[in-house]
């Protein structure tokens, strides 16, 4: 997977974070706070998962 392909994940993370946050709150400020936390969590999860896959790839 190239770096360019990875960038395609960014708009999707933003969109998913905003929609998920907006289905849990009614006002814009808590929606934005929730979306930022949710997005950071997704990025961190993906980074850890990618790191694990890269490690497994080296070991194989």
């Amino acid at each position: 997977m190239t770096t360019v392909t990875l960038w395609y994940a960014l708009p999707l993370i933003v969109s998913v974070s905003l929609v998920c946050a907006a289905t849990r709150h009614e006002l814009m400020r808590p929606i934005m706070h929730h979306a930022v936390r949710f997005g950071a969590w997704v990025v961190a999860f993906m980074a850890v998962f990618m790191g694990l896959l890269a490690l497994l790839g080296r070991l194989a």
Partner: protein
């Protein structure tokens, strides 16, 4: 007229007043939310959230369509292999995915699809294909040709449009019943262990 109530202090930390949301007719709102992302919320007067949902869900769908050059959303013909299960998820965005049903009907009746084949199912006949180096070959069908020609944008566009459809399911639930309130678990007072 249905109402949803957010408990005091949930969305506004310092407030001791609960937030009441007028859901109007939840079934109408849910139907409108399915037909066009965010429209159910606009009908309920929740305009800000309606615009947010429209931009996010419809924007994701359109971006996926652009990546896939308008070919990633289609309904497969009866008995066509591979079965396009992704369309059932894409249909979650409602009207924007509906032209695929019209195109499928036209093609199944041996008629020419409209709009230069936009959202039409791929042909099952072998397709000539020339790669970047000029090498000519044949792909077994049009789907294989699209996949090779757009790689990896066809797959990414499919993922985008599928996720847009699934996100709109959340939006429909929000229009029908209001936000999903997740409260932290309270610790029981008293009672030793």
């Amino acid at each position: 007229m249905a109402k949803a109530v957010l408990p005091a202090g949930y969305d506004v930390a310092d407030s001791d007043q609960p937030i009441e949301i007028d859901l109007k007719e939840p079934w109408i709102a849910a139907l409108l939310a399915w037909l066009m992302p965010g429209m159910g919320h606009v009908y309920q007067g929740r305009t800000g959230k309606g615009i947010l949902f429209f931009v996010c869900v419809f924007g994701t769908f359109v971006f996926g369509m652009l990546l896939g050059e308008g070919k990633v959303v289609y309904a497969s013909l009866p008995g066509q292999e591979p079965w396009r299960w992704q369309y059932y998820c894409q249909l979650g965005v409602g009207l924007p995915a509906m032209p695929a049903l019209v195109q499928r009907r036209l093609v199944s009746q041996d008629r020419k699809p409209l709009f230069d084949g936009f959202m039409a199912p791929p042909l099952d006949t072998p397709q000539p294909w020339k790669d970047d180096s000029g090498h000519a070959s044949k792909q077994p069908n049009e789907l294989a040709k699209w996949t090779v020609a757009m790689h990896p944008r066809f797959e990414i566009g499919t993922v985008y449009t599928v996720i847009a459809g699934l996100l709109n399911v959340l939006v429909i639930c929000d229009a029908y019943a209001g936000p999903l309130v997740l409260l932290p678990k309270r610790k029981e007072d008293g009672g030793g262990g």
